[in-house]
């Protein structure tokens, strides 16, 4: 019985550590060692660095630029640029925010170049939300109870509306929402990644969520 309790406590501890790691992105101890090895030309270390961050960077880029092929290429470009600029990384910020800064800058530049295209493709998709999906969104937004996040995640129609609504935000607003609500960064980390003031993060996020809400209501 004692062993089972200790095992549970150990597992709980591991889960908490992982949660904290995901929230803060604080992987500095491992990263520092890996970065040193990369600078020394250790390609295995660089591969580990890529494997460690590729999913998070890809997911963030994809949620900003929408197209999976472009997201894959931008992710690749991000890591190429990371490796090329590794010597300029001074460690003033964490590697995590530095790497995301490169990724988000590349993605926003890409979005800027393709702005007209994005608006066009969205216009073509307007009005596709079916009656059922709209009803689900209406229930979700008007329900006074707090819905279970897991059941929300399983609701494909709701997720689709959320993604389409996200696409309607302008690029800087979408970036701040993605970094906060999808990547789970703190305001301070977002400020570092986007190179803006903390107050700007706060106001931009607030405006973005308001706009998102308006877009969703317009779907109904």
């Amino acid at each position: 019985m004692l062993i089972v309790r200790e095992l549970c406590a150990y597992l709980l501890c591991l889960i908490m550590q992982e949660t904290v790691r995901r929230k803060t992105g604080s992987t500095n101890i491992d990263d520092t060692a890996l970065i040193d090895k990369c600078r020394g030309g250790d390609s295995a270390a660089f591969e580990r660095l890529i494997l460690k961050y590729q999913n998070r960077i890809y997911n963030t880029i994809l949620k900003i630029c929408v197209n999976p092929d472009d997201a894959a290429e931008l992710t690749q470009e991000t890591f190429v640029k990371i490796m090329e600029s590794l010597d300029t990384f001074e460690g003033k910020s964490s590697f995590y925010t530095w790497a995301f800064r490169i990724a988000v800058n590349l993605t926003l530049n890409y979005c800027q170049r393709n702005a007209k295209l994005t608006v066009h493709s969205l216009e073509a998709q307007d009005g596709r939300a079916g009656a059922e999906a709209r009803q689900m969104l209406k229930e979700f937004l008007s329900d006074d109870s707090s819905p279970d996040p897991a059941s929300v995640a399983q609701n494909k129609e709701l997720c689709e509306i959320a993604i389409k609504s996200l696409m309607r935000l302008d690029d800087p607003q979408r970036a701040v929402v993605v970094l906060r609500d999808i990547e789970g960064m703190s305001y301070a980390q977002i400020a570092q990644v986007l190179d803006i003031e903390l107050g700007t993060v706060r106001s931009r996020l607030s405006r973005a969520r308001n706009r998102l809400r308006e877009i969703m209501e317009a779907v109904l």
């Binding site: 390609s43 660089f46 591969e47 890529i50 494997l51 590729q54 999913n55 960077i57 890809y58 997911n59 994809l62 949620k63 999976p68 092929d69 472009d70 997201a71 894959a72 290429e73 931008l74 992710t75 690749q76 470009e77 890591f79 190429v80 490796m83 090329e84 590349l106 170049r113 393709n114 295209l117 979700f140 937004l141 006074d144 707090s146 819905p147 996040p149 897991a150 929300v152 995640a153 709701l158 997720c159 959320a162 993604i163 996200l166 929402v177 906060r180 609500d181 999808i182 703190s186 305001y187 706060r202 106001s203 996020l205 607030s206 405006r207 969520r209 308001n210 998102l212 809400r213 969703m216």
Partner: protein, 313 residues
Amino acid sequence: MNQKDLHIDELLNAYIDGELSEQQQAGVKKRIAQDPQLARRLQQLQKCKMLLESLPRAEAPAGIAERVKASLGQAARPERNVPTSVPSGNTRTIMLRKVLTAAALIAVMAILSAVINMLVASPDGAETPLAAAPHVAASKIFTGRLELQTSSLIRVDAFINRAVRENGLSAQVTSISSPNKRIYSVSCSKEHLNPLLADLQNVWDKLDASRLLVDTEQFGKQVTVAAVTAEQVAEIVNQPTAESRMEVAKDFAILNNMAEELPGKEIFAAMEGQKAGLTTVPKPFFTGPLEKPQGQAPAEDEIHLSIVLTNTK
């Protein structure tokens, strides 16, 4: 929404994000308890946030690490202006290469004569036969289109943009983007184009196909050089007159077509640096400034080149 509402919204957002101090949190909690409208607003924001947090997380496609390593490997290739050197090897290997090259040259010359004869004789030849070349005025201005196809559109696009920027050509290049295409219109002098082409050489292996269309002064007539290389583009562009430009372009067109048809393309690879000018001898420099004829004013915007980059995915 007025300024006060905006401030309240910011506070509510920071509250649900856990970004307030304990004192601020307590203050917001108190206000929510007293104001049902505020409580409703908070709930709306929380749901909005929850919806986004619930979105499925996408995983990166397999092979990113390998592709990044491959890109970095290519980037580490010799920089521009560094001549392609003979790989280090023993004397026998070098001798063998020389003998092979000489043999290949003789074979190419023989086939070349046959092909030229065939082209001249054919009324429907794909390329304009040399004998029937359109009259070209001795214009110094080059106009043409470089068509590039790639499956790495973003990477090549980023590379070209960087090359344009780093060579100080931003003012001379305008670009248009569409989903699967980028068009760069370059209007500059030869001296400015050379370093850009030298940079582009480093991204040539990312291309699936390349083609240069050199405008003639005869409307609708162009000389097409398929499978063109950056060096060949530079060589054509650097010719002193439109006439010699045409000649060199046609030579390259024939040579490249033959290279595609001939078995054992590696022989051509071994001849790198020598294939130019088999029928037109001068071998212009690639990256250096063009020596201008005495007594002539410096050339301004004598190159008008459209680079069309197309996605093959």
